[in-house]
């Protein structure tokens, strides 16, 4: 496929896009479960594949104002979550550079 061949994760327990089942993140890369997703709970992960990033914007999350960018699945273009870029509050800075994927948008799969 031109436009970046689809990546497949080698792990056994992975999360994939609920619409098109392309791999997104593996279970081992989850840092923590958070409850401040847009549509409910989500996972904080340090590595995602097959995603593209949208525009940077400032959004106020339950945990405070953040600069984030929405991420979407490369194959089906469904929004999956966002990437934390810079947090305003000092205690939230640990999230910088990590991704948040919404639990409703991904499906856990065992390979």
């Amino acid at each position: 496929m031109t436009k970046r061949p689809q990546v497949y994760l080698p792990d056994e327990c992975i999360y994939s896009c609920s619409t098109c089942h392309s791999h997104v993140a593996c279970h081992d890369s989850i840092i923590s479960k958070v409850s401040s997703g847009k549509h409910g709970p989500g996972y904080l992960v340090d590595e995602v594949v097959n995603v593209g990033m949208g525009e940077r914007e400032e959004r106020v999350l339950p945990s405070g104002p953040h600069i984030i960018a929405d991420i979407y699945c490369c194959v089906c273009h469904a929004t999956i979550g966002w990437k934390h870029i810079i947090a305003s509050k000092e205690e939230e800075r640990y999230k910088d550079g990590l991704w948040m994927i919404e639990q409703t948008r991904v499906v856990k799969e065992r390979l």
């Binding site: 031109t2 436009k3 061949p5 689809q6 497949y8 194959v75």
Partner: protein, 542 residues
């Protein structure tokens, strides 16, 4: 060296200089004598012998040759010890061969008792080739001469077997005493091979080599000019394939359609649409009546390219189907996908068999259908041989593979490596890396490469810098960089029929046909295009 010299006083063999450059004069004269005799010029040959004082071969050798060809085995055996042999132990091997031929001829004449006698008293005491003796003894049970010939794979005294015997015996005799048959032609063939290897742009199927000048294909005859730009796709063109009969071109695109073009007019014949998702690969059937298209929506579809009807859906894969292949019988197809499965199907849609392998990125079947080569997502090239299912050699590549192509004889595989921006040519038989081709740009996308030229002498590849790169396969040298597309060139396909041509498909949605146009015709085209906008008819001008 055994040379019979005349004692005449005007013989040339007493000359001080016996070499002409690197070549020994006497050897050269003997070769010329052999060639003259092969061409049936016996008169000149005899004159040359008389004047130069060099004879082709000694009388012993001539009588030996006569004896073998007429079947006078006793004389042949008697003459053997007088000939110069390469090794002394070869004498018994040579005797074995002569006696074996005698045995087979006796069997052919149905003189079975004599044959048995010969086996017992002549062949067995030599103590060699015990297995062969067992085979020969089983031939005694054959009832007819034809049976003997079939079982022994021997074509009889009247056939070529005596000449073949002579060739076999040649191995044991010093070449300087009995010159190998047609030696001059062998040497000339070697020279032609050397010239062929040095020809960078070798582009002709049957080379008419001349003895007077070195062979070199004209560099300008390589297809470099774009004769036509085929537009019609709304989005990126991902794969193009010429049909086997050379009449049509199929192109699959991200716009979820596949277009069939007629090569003689470059017009669209058919557009196969209605697929839910884009397709990444297509393959014509061996009789060109059907087209298989692999889709990103986990299905493979069989279409009739002429009518545009969807004939069959093959739904079994759980991930995108990346590649397919027709078996040579035209009745079965293989499909492979990223769900680690390869499926074998009947044409009516029934699944015959499934194999679990690695995630397949590209798959190719050899021309005879015995070997399946797979390039996997885990950077391995695996070879599955249907004759030897237990031997499946795996080649580990050092980067992500984006495309796999096989040579016509299926001995070599060409893979594009993403991270290294190189193309590797692997020898599949001993799993060694033969050549590397670099210069093109490839980092993120799937770029395909292919072979071109009648002997697969060119390697062509697309590139992310909008150009097509052409290398010489043997010399690894970058021959051409052809630009013209306005976006990444995804795939290249070589047309191997009446004229030299190839097609390239790109992300800009167009397909370009590249041909060779001579210099003068180029100017004519330029003027013609300047006056009008049509360049269709010129496709016939070369």
């Amino acid at each position: 060296m055994q040379i019979t010299k005349h004692t005449a006083s005007n013989s040339q063999s007493s000359q001080p200089e016996s070499r002409l450059g690197n070549v020994n004069k006497d050897e050269l004269v003997r070769l010329v004598l052999q060639t003259l005799q092969d061409l049936d010029y016996h008169g000149p040959a005899m004159m040359l012998e008389k004047e130069s004082g060099v004879t082709l071969e000694s009388d012993n050798v001539t009588s030996f040759r006569q004896a073998i060809l007429t079947g006078d085995w006793t004389a042949a055996e008697a003459l053997l010890p007088t000939m110069a042999l390469s090794k002394t132990e070869d004498l018994s091997q040579a005797i074995f061969l002569i006696r074996e031929q005698r045995f087979l001829e006796l069997l052919e004449d149905r003189k079975t008792l004599n044959a048995l006698y010969s086996l017992r008293t002549e062949l067995t005491p030599l103590g060699l080739n015990v297995d062969r003796i067992h085979e020969l003894s089983s031939l005694i049970l054959c009832s007819t001469a034809e049976d003997v010939k079939a079982q022994a794979r021997w074509d009889g005294a009247g056939g070529k077997s005596r000449e073949l015997l002579l060739v076999e015996l040649q191995r044991y005799i010093l070449p300087s005493s009995m010159i190998p048959k047609e030696r001059m032609l062998t040497l000339i063939d070697q020279a032609f091979q050397w010239q062929r290897r040095g020809c960078l742009y070798h582009n002709v199927a049957e080379s008419d080599y001349s003895l007077f000048e070195d062979h070199a294909c004209d560099k300008d005859r390589f297809p470099k000019s774009t004769i036509r730009v085929l537009e019609g796709h709304a989005d990126q063109v991902w794969h193009i394939a010429f049909s086997h009969n050379g009449k049509y071109l199929a192109s699959v695109s991200k716009d979820k359609t596949c277009t069939i073009w007629d090569i003689s007019t470059f017009e669209v014949i058919q557009v196969l649409s209605g697929q839910p998702d884009s397709s990444s690969y297509c393959e014509w059937s061996p009789d060109d009546k059907r087209l298989l298209i692999c889709g990103c929506d986990h299905a493979m579809r069989l279409w009739d390219p002429m009518t545009g009807d969807l004939i069959q859906n093959f739904l079994e894969h759980e991930e995108q189907v990346t590649s397919c292949a027709w078996l040579p019988d035209g009745k079965h197809v293989l499909s492979a996908g990223c769900d680690k499965k390869i499926c074998l199907w009947n044409l009516d849609g029934t699944l015959v068999n499934t194999w679990i392998v690695e995630r397949v990125l590209d798959m190719k079947l050899s021309a005879d259908g015995r070997r399946l080569v797979i390039a996997s997502y885990e950077n391995n090239i695996s070879v599955y041989n249907f004759d030897y299912p237990n031997l499946s050699p795996k080649i580990k590549e050092s980067g992500g593979i984006t495309s796999l192509t096989l040579t016509k004889d299926s001995r070599f595989a060409l893979v594009n490596i993403k991270e290294l921006q190189e193309i590797h040519l692997w020898n599949l038989e001993d799993q060694t890396l033969k050549h590397k081709y670099a210069g093109h740009k490839q980092g993120e996308y799937v770029i395909r490469s292919t072979f071109g030229g009648p002997d697969d002498s060119f390697v062509l590849s697309g590139s992310e810098d909008n150009c097509v790169y052409v290398w010489s396969r043997e010399h690894q040298e970058l021959l051409e960089v052809l630009c013209g597309h306005t976006d990444t060139v995804n795939c290249v396909s070589w047309y191997s029929h009446t004229h030299t041509m190839f097609a390239t498909g790109s992300d800009d949605g167009t397909i370009r046909m590249q041909v060779y146009i001579s210099f003068f015709l180029n100017i004519y085209i330029y003027i013609y295009i300047y006056n009008s906008n049509y360049i269709i008819y010129l496709s016939r001008c070369y």
